[in-house]
């Protein structure tokens, strides 16, 4: 895997999808606007021109049925990818995902499988409000029979998408909108990023920061601020949320003895709760804490929105406190150009 090129997260998704469609005739992509000129941040742009309308098509606004139709096509031997511009709309698909996709293999004792990929964009920019910003990865982590991935880097976006398409199980593929412009080195060829394997993105010794999707970038930025005051933070990107790489997180926890889980979602019954429960059961003498959305719907106005989400500053402050630092310390303003440069409208 020596042929690397520098592309962004959105381009990495496009490339993984394109190459796997070339590789496997049974792969098709559908969803609202997937064949329009924007092609969902370019991730599905013009695929219909290359592969034909039956393999990349627009749909009626029928999320419930279109999920079942994907499941049915998967039962029939195809590998559908259903693209959602907002994960909030997955609530219209829950019956199909939970009652059918997750259970058909089990209820048929392994005769059938549902190799369906559901791509779901989450996240803030500005002003997305209560119904256009939510991340529901924890809802799906609760359901046996469904896998969940939330890659942060372009490398993992491409590799996870290819692995998701090839997987026999339904996969929820979570992609944060503020990651699309993230640039990184990505192998040119087809490759898979394995389910259930996380990554240590930055090694450290004093505290472990575990993020989810975009909050991984908050953790990375926080770790840089912490470094300036002499704190060595280890940053873990779990990549795969179901299954979770518990071993990797435990190993880091046993080294640093302090773990701060920064979820990209609410805390009750969430990813952070799950990880902290595992650490509480399987490790000893740890200092554990968690951050995530505040316990409210997401407010629209920017000034409240900024307080609703974790930020590099709030993560750094909490981590510093956990490490015994001055609770009045604040890092200098940490720039997030992808948010600051966002001007809408979508």
């Amino acid at each position: 895997m020596d042929n690397l090129k520098e592309i962004n997260y959105g381009e990495a998704i496009y490339e993984g999808c394109y190459q796997e469609m070339e590789n496997d005739d049974s792969v098709f992509v559908y969803g609202l606007g997937v064949d329009d000129t924007k092609g969902h941040y370019g991730t599905s742009k013009d695929l219909h021109k290359v592969f034909g309308a039956k393999r990349n098509f627009d749909i009626p606004l029928s999320e419930d049925a279109m999920t079942g139709i994907g499941i049915g096509a998967a039962l029939g031997g195809l590998k559908p990818i259903y693209v959602h511009q907002r994960m909030d709309f997955l609530l219209l698909c829950m019956n199909q995902l939970v009652n059918m996709a997750a259970k058909l293999r089990y209820m048929s004792s392994g005769v059938h499988s549902v190799p369906l990929v559901v791509r779901a964009a989450i996240g803030r920019s500005w002003g997305q409000g209560a119904q256009h910003s939510q991340a529901f990865h924890s809802y799906f982590m609760h359901v046996p029979g469904i896998k969940v991935v939330a890659p942060t880097t372009p490398h993992d976006a491409k590799g996870c998408l290819i692995a998701s398409i090839r997987d026999k199980n339904p996969v929820i593929f979570v992609e944060h909108r503020m990651l699309y412009s993230n640039v990184g080195y990505v192998p040119e060829e087809l490759y898979e990023v394995e389910f259930g394997k996380g990554r240590v993105l930055i090694e450290g010794t004093d505290i472990t920061l575990v993020g989810v999707s975009y909050t991984v970038t908050d953790c990375i930025r926080a770790s840089l601020a912490l470094k300036e005051i002499g704190i060595s933070a280890e940053v873990i990107d779990p990549v795969s949320l179901s299954p979770i790489d518990y071993e990797l997180i435990r190993k880091s926890a046993n080294k640093t003895k302090k773990v701060l889980v920064v979820d990209n979602g609410w805390l009750t019954c969430g990813f952070a709760a799950e990880v902290i429960a595992d650490l509480g059961i399987n490790c000893k003498d740890l200092d554990l804490d968690r951050m995530g959305y505040l316990e409210s719907p997401c407010p629209t106005t920017r000034v409240l929105e900024d307080g609703f989400y974790p930020s590099p500053e709030s993560v750094a402050i909490k981590a510093n406190t956990m490490c015994g630092g001055d609770s009045n310390w604040k890092p200098e303003n940490i720039s997030r150009k992808e948010i600051n440069s966002f001007k809408g409208p979508f």
């Binding site: 009626p60 499941i71 009652n99 293999r105 089990y106 499988s113 199980n169």
Partner: protein
């Protein structure tokens, strides 16, 4: 085009009726430890439609699926063992009556949530068209299913993409005990479906042959690229929504309504069309098949608890 085979129709009808009656007989023993939704009264639809099908056609049914399964000639022993929760069952006891399947005859795992497998049937039809496969998809559902939004979303997509699928609406008029009149204005499911561009017909017959003829024409048309078709098959559920009992004590329908349906039982009609010796032979053969299947189920073992977490993921 297929011809109506009265002997075969009688044989399948008798198999369904006797199997359901055996379930009623045995239910009090509590060997079938799960809900059953019996098909008695609705056999003419299942038998008529099944006789019009080819091996390559694919069946999507629902929780009231015994008749569809048996009319498709799904494995009888495996069905009984599944009802008994035994390892020899079609899904090793993990499905039971509500999620029956037999993929050797293209009978897909059924769902217990009303209308929930309808989009799956449509998606399967999309995959058939995508891969240029021959089989037509049959989607059985009840009149209750048309109350669900997902039903019309699915119909819309099937119509939009002109998919090879036959919707068979078994209209027994009741969602549990709630009459269609309490659930929609007017009783025409056909006209609603027509407005989606779906060719739709009501089959008001009580005879298996009526349903066969309608299905036979429809399947033939779909194979000649007519696009999807809906048959609204008027029928009657004789037993309670769930369980082995009758439901007259609930007083949600008149005795006359049910008595009329029972008087018109097409099993008796089909029997009258076959010579007596054949009737005796068929009955004897099927009775013995059912007894064998029950014995097979009794003798089979339960799955080990280590199987609980098998096949969650592939």
């Amino acid at each position: 085009m297929k011809k109506f085979d009265v002997k075969k129709a009688y044989s399948l009808f008798y198999l369904i009726r006797k199997s359901e009656e055996k379930i009623i007989e045995l239910y009090d023993t509590d060997k079938i430890k799960s809900p059953v939704h019996l098909s008695i009264g609705q056999e003419p639809v299942a038998v008529g439609v099944s006789l019009a099908l080819d091996k390559k056609d694919i069946i999507f049914s629902n929780y009231r699926g015994h008749a569809h399964y048996l009319a498709r000639e799904g494995n009888l022993k495996e069905m009984w063992a599944e009802l008994y929760g035994k390892v020899a069952g079609s899904s090793r006891g993990k499905a039971g009556s509500m999620h029956l399947s037999d993929w050797s005859v293209n009978f897909m795992t059924t769902s217990a949530i009303v209308a929930t497998a309808v989009p799956e049937a449509v998606g399967y039809a999309y995959s058939q068209k995508y891969q240029n496969n021959e089989g037509v998809v049959i989607c059985y559902h009840g009149d209750g299913a048309v109350d669900e939004g997902v039903y019309w979303e699915s119909i819309n997509f099937a119509s939009l993409h002109q998919l090879p699928i036959l919707f068979v609406c078994e209209n027994n008029k009741y969602a549990i005990y709630t009459h269609q009149d309490k659930r929609m204005l007017g009783d025409s499911i056909v006209s609603r479906a027509n407005s989606f561009g779906l060719k739709s017909f009501r089959v008001d017959g009580i005879r298996t042959e009526d349903f066969f003829n309608a299905a036979n024409d429809s399947i033939n048309n779909i194979k000649n690229n007519s696009g999807p078709i809906l048959l609204e098959c008027m029928t009657s559920r004789w037993r309670d929504h769930v369980g082995p009992g009758e439901d007259r004590h609930i007083n949600f329908r008149s005795d006359k309504e049910l008595n009329d349906a029972i008087t018109n039982d097409d099993l008796k009609n089909l029997e009258s069309l076959i010579n007596k010796e054949d009737v005796v032979t068929i009955q004897k053969d099927i009775d013995s098949q059912i007894n064998d299947a029950i014995k097979y189920s009794e003798d089979s073992s339960f799955p080990g608890t280590k199987e609980i977490t098998d096949n969650v993921y592939g």
